[in-house]
Structure formats: C-alpha cells, structure tokens
Symmetry: C2
Subunit: 132 residues, 2 copies
C-alpha cells in the first residue's frame, strides 16, 4: 500500500492548475511555478499532473494537434479549440449531459467514468485575419 506524501512541489502544481482558467499544458504549469521553485523539474510536473488526473482531482484533456491540457475546474463543461491559433477555452452555457454517461453505460456494457467533448473551429480573431 503506497502512502501519498504532501510535498511543496505537489502543492504548488495543484494550486497552479486550480488557480487558472487557461487550461495550461504541463510545460505551462512548469513555467508558472519556476519563479517560486526554480529547480522544479518538468518530470515532476508530469508525474504529479498524471496522478492528480488519475485520481480525478483535475481533468486531463486531449486535443488534436496540441499537447495535453489540464483543467482544475471539475464543473461539467465543454471546450472549444481554435484550429488556427490553438486558443482553447471553456464553454459553460450548454448543459453537459451527465445522464449520457449512464445511458451509454447501460447500452454498451462499459462502466463510464466521464466524457470529454471538444468543439473544433475558428475563433473570432482568426476568422477576421482570414478576411484580410
């Protein structure tokens, strides 16, 4: 039985992810913390993010043509990715259908822990650039 320990690094990493709405990549999390913990290694960031995501304390999101992103907001919501500039943001207004998980579960035989929906398109800025 492995006992998890509280370390300075772990605490910093978790609060970095929970304290932002930018859906940072592992490298961005690392950059957010290095002023406070200059020796923090990227490997440690990955190890901790992975553990937090597996435990369900944060979300890990896989995006086409982009490194994985991490989200400390567990409120059910969707994400939008700009296929031009990579901008990545939340979309809350549409109901996330948690019921769906139960329906899929019943019909597929899987036990479903969650689902992730990513919308792909062009952000307003990139749409404008295109016109010029």
């Amino acid at each position: 039985m492995i006992k998890e320990r509280t370390t300075k690094q772990k605490t910093l990493i978790l609060s970095a992810v929970q304290g932002t709405k930018t859906h940072p990549t592992a490298e961005q999390v690392h950059a957010m913390i290095t002023d406070v913990a200059p020796n923090l290694s990227l490997g440690t960031v990955y190890r901790n993010l992975n553990r937090l995501a597996e435990t369900g304390i944060i979300r890990r999101i896989s995006v086409i043509n982009s490194p994985d992103r991490f989200d400390g907001d567990l409120t059910p919501h969707h994400h939008i990715s700009c296929t031009d500039c990579g901008k990545f943001c939340d979309f809350f207004e549409i109901n996330y259908d948690a019921e769906l998980d139960r329906v899929i579960e019943a019909r597929s035989g899987f036990s479903i822990a969650k689902h992730e929906t990513v919308f792909y398109g062009k952000c307003p800025e990139c749409k404008n650039k295109e016109l010029n």
Copy 2:
C-alpha cells in the same frame, strides 16, 4: 494553386481507413497495407492521413494516453475508450447533436466545424478481470 494527385499509396491508405471499423492508428494503417505495398513509408501514411483529415474525408480522433486514431465513418457518432486496455469503439445509438455546433457557434463567436466526444471507462472484459 496546388493540384492534388492520385497515387497508389493515397488510394490504398484511404480504402484501408474506409474499409475498417477498428479506428486504426497511423502505424496500424501502415501495417494493413505493407503486404500490398512493402515500401510504403510511415511518413507517407501520416502525410496522407493528415490531408484526408483536413479535407474532412476521414476523421482524426485524439485520445488520452493513446496515439491518434482515424475513422473513415463520417456518420455522426460517439466513441468509447477503455482506460484499462485501450479498446476503442463506436457508439451509435445516442443521437449526435449536430445542432450543438450551431448553438455554440452563435454564442461563442467561433465558427465550429465539428465536435468530438469521447467517453472514458472500463470495457466489460476489463471489469471482469478486476474482479479476479
């Protein structure tokens, strides 16, 4: 203006993806074809899959902890990924809500081309294994 050419490789790659329901990775597509085209390079597979996906002729799907998968079935549908063994399959019975794209578009200012939903959980086999 670039004119796209029909090549033996391109044809084989497209029909490999369209002819299976296994959502193959690029490497699997490569393996599916090498008996017919032994010199086919993985780079060529990637180049063609990318182009086909960008054109919208096939779908590219990004999955946590897994290489990207390609799907020749453009019928709107969802996917389920087993977080234990990596099994990846279709789920058709639930309506894919294409209307959602228009709603998100109107409210976010993005122009939305598509959305991808992946359900994560344990497949029946892995659930069983766990009990033993």
